[in-house]
Every structure is written in structure tokens, then in C-alpha cells.
């Protein structure tokens, strides 16, 4: 795990102070909640679907190198080219070079978290290539110069007033009507699709047996990005592969409902290689870039490898009370929420807070929602254990020491009770101490005469009055 100076607590506190953003986020989370209630919560066979999806993902991890080699052979047989990249810089370099070698000036991009991970847009910009995000949410944040705040709904934190202001400033088009703003974006991006020299997309699932890249979307921008330009580059992290189309079907049974509450997205596309003999459109060149960036190391870690089963549905984010409160940007890394709290610190070029695993209430809503059967609480617990090898705070050690001795434990409580039963003096003197922080929004009932001291009399009373009422 890489050391990091990023402070999630500070970023979270700042985010919580922004009432407008909190209101937008709350509204979005509310919508997602309704979608979940209608879809996965109402699905009678969710458990069975999850069992199948989990089996597929476990099989992937067990056979990962074979699957990737088969995938490579299948893509190649279909007229595509496969590139392996060890880390973010080399992946970005590989794609940039590919494009500059072919004199590409304009790239249209479908949403891809991996492309965020490798900083592709920045690399392309440095090389003088215009890269336009075509997913409406990504387009909005690109115009705003921001980063995505959710893995599926990148502009979840942006209000319609903010979009209106943005379109006015950057596109010279004024409107506060959402359908009209969508039309404005459509017109603006259409020109790009049709003129682009290359399209870069992500990959939801890669099928080894057929060399197929499967992408899910509602807008149609990925289809356009992969179909119109003469070059298609698909970017995936190495764990996204499954064996066969039947395996992919198992994942597709659970991914759209968990992600957006849909049975199927509007566009489910299966791209296999380059255009065939006699075809007039579709890419002449198709490239698949497979990124490691620390994942092979995660696979070698028996206690943490199950995070690689993730299918990027976003369900864990949506149900996490921490994510719901602070939004995605506070995490300071590409992947926020529970899955991000596990994955981000483990990636090679990890951004964000190395101590992110501690920012968790252990509520287990994530594990309950995860369609891939990932036990985030257990993974986070293991990460906390490893981080604690570097030392634990004095309060925890002191409390543990006290707890080893019943008379010391009781004695300490008695002292505290006589000196400051409501803990108000401690809170007053040290407002930033654990006690001080706890009491900021709470009225503490106070340390009490211990239960064990009351028990003897209570037991006598109970035995005198008999057992049953």
C-alpha cells in the first residue's frame, strides 16, 4: 500500500459543510433508492442470480491468466490487437502513441473508470489530441473541469442550474429545461462523433472464448464512439474477463438491476474485433488494452483478492451511509465508496487516503447489496489490521490494557464517574479529544452506578417474586 498525505476526514468535513452539494447528493441518493426498491429489492430470484454471478467471478479469478491468453487469441483472430500495460503511465503512453502514430487529432470517449485511473485525458491533451467525453454526465464534468463523483453517474453531484450555467458559459447555449439541455449536448457532441478519428471506450465484460468486449449504456454514445470512427480502442482492467457468453449472461442478469434498476440497458453492445471483409463501417482497427496497475499483486493476496470480483455496479456506493453523506469527491481517488476503500489503496498508483479503511461504520450494507458476493467489511477489517501493524493510538492501547484487569477497569470507571460523570469537563478542556468530538452533537447520559453493583439486590427481588409474570 502506498503512503498518502490525502486526508479523507478533512475532505469529508468540507463536503459536509457544502449544503447545496449535500442537497443535490441527497436527492440523487433518494432516486437511486427508489430504483433499487423497484428492481433488486423486488426481484424474487436475486439470491439465485447472485449465486451464479459469484460462481462466474470466482471462476475468473481462479483461471485468470488462462482466460486472458484465450481472450488475446480470440481478439487477434477477430482482427483486433491486444496490448498489456503494467501500470497507469505505460497504459496512457501505449494509447497515446497508438493514436499519434496514426495522426489522430480527435478522440471521442465513452465512460471508462479505467481511463480515469490512467489519466488518459491528460496524457492525450499533452500530446495535442482533443479527447471529448461523450457520456452526458462525463461531458458535463469535463466542461466543468471536474472529476467524476460516482462510478456510474459521474455528474450526480451537479444540479440542473449548474449545468445550465455551464452550457451557457462554455457552449453559448442557454436553457434550464433538462430535455432541452440534453438536446444541446446531443447536437454539440454529434459533430464530434461524426468527425472523430478514433473512439476510446471502456469494457464492462470481456468474453475470452469469443474475444468480445461487452459495453452497457443508455445513451448510445459508446455505440457511436465504437462504430463511427475508423479506430476503436477498448480499455479494460485485467479482472473484467469471463470465460464464455453464458458466463457473461450470468453477470448481465445482475449487473443492470444492481446498477441502474433496469433489466437491460438501452444499448447492450458486443464488439468483436475489427470490421469484417465486405463491411462498410465499423473500425478498421480494433485495439484492446489490458491494464494491471497492481491487480496481479492483489490476486496473489488470498485475504484481499475477492475485491477483484467487483463488476462495477455501484450498489455498494449507493447504500453506504458514508458515501451518501459526503459524495464521491471526498475520497480523492477514482473509485469511491466501499469498493473504492478497498481497491484504491491497493492499486499501484493509489490516490486517496491510505487510512480510508478506517472511515467505515461497519454497517455491512455494502456486503448485503453486492451482487458479486464481496464481503467489504471483512476486506476492510484485514486492511485495518495491516495498517495497525504500524502502530495504534494510545487510547485504544490503554483501554485494552485496562480491560485485561477487571478491578482496574472498574476502578478507572469509578474514578471517571466521581470526577466527571457527564464527561463534560473533559469535553470542555479538550474539545478535540475523542470524548470532546463525541459530545459535540450528543448529550451524554453520564457514567452510572455499575450494573454489577445493582445485580445482587435485583436478583434477590426477582427470586422472591418468582419467575413468571
Amino acid at each position: 500500500m502506498s503512503a498518502s498525505k490525502y486526508d479523507f476526514g478533512k475532505a469529508a468535513a468540507k463536503a459536509l459543510g457544502d449544503r447545496e452539494s449535500r442537497a443535490v447528493l441527497a436527492k440523487a441518493i433518494g432516486h437511486i433508492r427508489v430504483l433499487r426498491r423497484r428492481s433488486v429489492d423486488a426481484m424474487p430470484d436475486f439470491a439465485e442470480r447472485r449465486t451464479r454471478a459469484v460462481a462466474v467471478r470466482e471462476a475468473t479469478l481462479a483461471r485468470l491468466p488462462d482466460l486472458l491468453e484465450t481472450l488475446e487469441a480470440s481478439v487477434t483472430a477477430a482482427g483486433g490487437m491486444v496490448h498489456f500495460a503494467e501500470d497507469a503511465p505505460s497504459a496512457a503512453r501505449c494509447i497515446t502513441r497508438l493514436l499519434t502514430d496514426r495522426d489522430v487529432k480527435l478522440v471521442v470517449k465513452g465512460k471508462s473508470m479505467v481511463s480515469e485511473e490512467i489519466g488518459l485525458n491528460e496524457a492525450l491533451e499533452r500530446a495535442g489530441i482533443e479527447a471529448v467525453e461523450t457520456d452526458l454526465g462525463e461531458y458535463i464534468i469535463q466542461l466543468a473541469g471536474e472529476k467524476p463523483s460516482h462510478i456510474l453517474a459521474p455528474a450526480l453531484h451537479v444540479s440542473k442550474e449548474q449545468v445550465s450555467e455551464l452550457f451557457d458559459r462554455k457552449l453559448g447555449r442557454k436553457s434550464t429545461d433538462i430535455p432541452e439541455m440534453t438536446r444541446i449536448a446531443r447536437d454539440s457532441l454529434r459533430r464530434k462523433f461524426l468527425a472523430a478519428d478514433a473512439g476510446v471506450t471502456g469494457c464492462n465484460i470481456a468474453v475470452a472464448a469469443t474475444g468480445t468486449v461487452i459495453v452497457l449504456e443508455n445513451e448510445g454514445n459508446i455505440r457511436l464512439s465504437a462504430s463511427c470512427p475508423p479506430i476503436h480502442i477498448a480499455l479494460m482492467s485485467l479482472e473484467k474477463v469471463v470465460g464464455t457468453l453464458a458466463d457473461a449472461a450470468a453477470v448481465l442478469d445482475i449487473l443492470p438491476p444492481s446498477a441502474t434498476g433496469q433489466t437491460l440497458p438501452v444499448h447492450l453492445s458486443l464488439f468483436t474485433g475489427a470490421r469484417r471483409e465486405g463491411e462498410r463501417d465499423g473500425p478498421r482497427e480494433m485495439h484492446l488494452v489490458i491494464l494491471d496497475n497492481g491487480r496481479s499483486k492483489i490476486l496473489a493476496d488470498p485475504l484481499l483478492r475477492s475485491i477483484l470480483k467487483c463488476i462495477r455496479c455501484g450498489a455498494c456506493l449507493n447504500v453506504c451511509p458514508v458515501y451518501q453523506s459526503v459524495g464521491g469527491h471526498a475520497y480523492g481517488s477514482v473509485y469511491p465508496g466501499p469498493m473504492g476503500s478497498v481497491l484504491s489503496p491497493l492499486l499501484t498508483d493509489a490516490a486517496g487516503d491510505a487510512r480510508q479503511p478506517f472511515a467505515c461504520t461497519h454497517c455491512a450494507a455494502c456486503a448485503a447489496a453486492c451482487p458479486a458476493g464481496i464481503d467489504h467489511p471483512a476486506l476492510l477489517q484485514e486492511m485495518r489490521r495491516r495498517l495497525s501493524a504500524e502502530g495504534t493510538d494510545a487510547a485504544t492501547r490503554a483501554f485494552a490494557a485496562l480491560a485485561r484487569s477487571p478491578w482496574m477497569f472498574a476502578g478507572a470507571a469509578a474514578v471517571a464517574r466521581s470526577a466527571d460523570p457527564g464527561l463534560t469537563r473533559v469535553a470542555g478542556m479538550a474539545p478535540d479529544s475523542p470524548v470532546g468530538r463525541f459530545l459535540r452533537g450528543r448529550v451524554f447520559p453520564g457514567l452510572s452506578r455499575p450494573f454489577s453493583r445493582r445485580f445482587k439486590a435485583l436478583a434477590r427481588r426477582l427470586s422472591r417474586h418468582g419467575g413468571r409474570s
Partner: protein, 240 residues
Amino acid sequence: MEAFLFIPCLVEHVLPQVGEATAVVLSKVGVSPVLPKGQTCCGQFAYKRGRPDLVRPLARKFIALFEDARAIVCPSGSCTAMVRRYPGLFAEDDPWRARAEAVAARTFELGQYLVDELALTDVGARLPLRAVLHASCQTTRVLGAGEQTERLLAHVAGLTLVPLARPERCCGFGGAFSVDYPEISQAILEEKVDDVIQSGADAVITAEPSCLLNIGSALAKREVSVRPLHLAEVLAGGAI
């Protein structure tokens, strides 16, 4: 019939009424509560801070203390869940592991004990109130004992459970989380309290002492007159 009381440190020193209510409930159903001396803490605060090594000595003390019990009853889902983790703290060949397994198998959260072990759902309780149930994360999702709480409450005479918005949502305590990330903890707690107030209930019931403390102390701060009640207190309602 006897059962040993496993009293969380929070109950011992801050919420003794929960311990009293637990003893009363057991007595009501014909189980004599026994309180072994020398309990301190189950150690979950250290475990969740990433120090299972600090929990091992506490686990050994717990095991030694409760080994002779036929049943161990605890008014906390989180503490019960912690004891269920004790076996995993010891190596496969460590004799403490088998001892931990034996004790863990006999440790029950109150609702589990009544419903699963004694096959009881009606303990003759009466509490005429409109209340909401905050289904604690540890009791429902981690321990899997949420249903037992519901079934017991369904048989409390005069008790009307009204719907709580987002009942499965965390109260924001999370142990050390509340002091490590106080702003986030506060924000999550506020929403829970808002939901409780919005429900129009006179009381909020939970089976988890830490949730009870967290929600109760926030209600007190806001000077809202909704009564925070532990499951045990509800079930003891109407008793001597």
C-alpha cells in the same frame, strides 16, 4: 434453568437499565440470571481498530469466565457478534480455539435466545406506545438476528410499531468511527434522528446498546421527547 448474563461495558457503566431489564425478562420466562464477576469488555473496539492481538487476552478471560454456562445471554448484537469471532483469533492447533468455539456456540443475543433457544415469541409484555424500530446493523446484518426482534415486538400488548423511513440505515455510531470521523458520524446520526422524529413515534426501540446511546443522546441534544428504549426494556414492560 439458568443463563449467564454477558453485560457489555457500555451497559455496565452507562446504560445499566438495559442490564436490569434483561435480567427481568429472563426471570419472567423462568430463567434465573447469573452474573459472573469480572467482566470487562468484549474487545470489539480494538478488533475494529485492526488489533485482534489486543482482543486475544480479553477473549481468554471471557472464555474462562463463561465456560461453565449452559447459555450466555447478551443484550447486544455487536458484542455477541464479537464473541462469535473469538475462535478465529486463535490458531487451528491452539486449544483455546476449541474452547472459544464451545463458548461462542452458547452465546446469544437476547432476541436470539428467547426465540431460537426457548422457542418463545410472547413474553407477556405490555407497553402501550407508538414506536419505531431502529434495526441495528450489527443485530440484523452482521449477526442475522433482526427477525427475532421483530417477532418479539409483534407480541407486546399495546405496542404499535409505526414505519420508520430507511429503517435499515446505520445510525452513524460505528464505535471508533464516531470519534475518528465525528462530522460524518454526526451527519449520519442527524438523518436517523430526522427519520425518527418524522415518523411521529413516541419511542424508538433498538436491540443494540450503542445505537441506543447514540440515538438517545442525539434526541436529548435536540430536546426531543421521543423515548429511546432497548428491546429488553420493552419486553420487561408490564413486569414487576
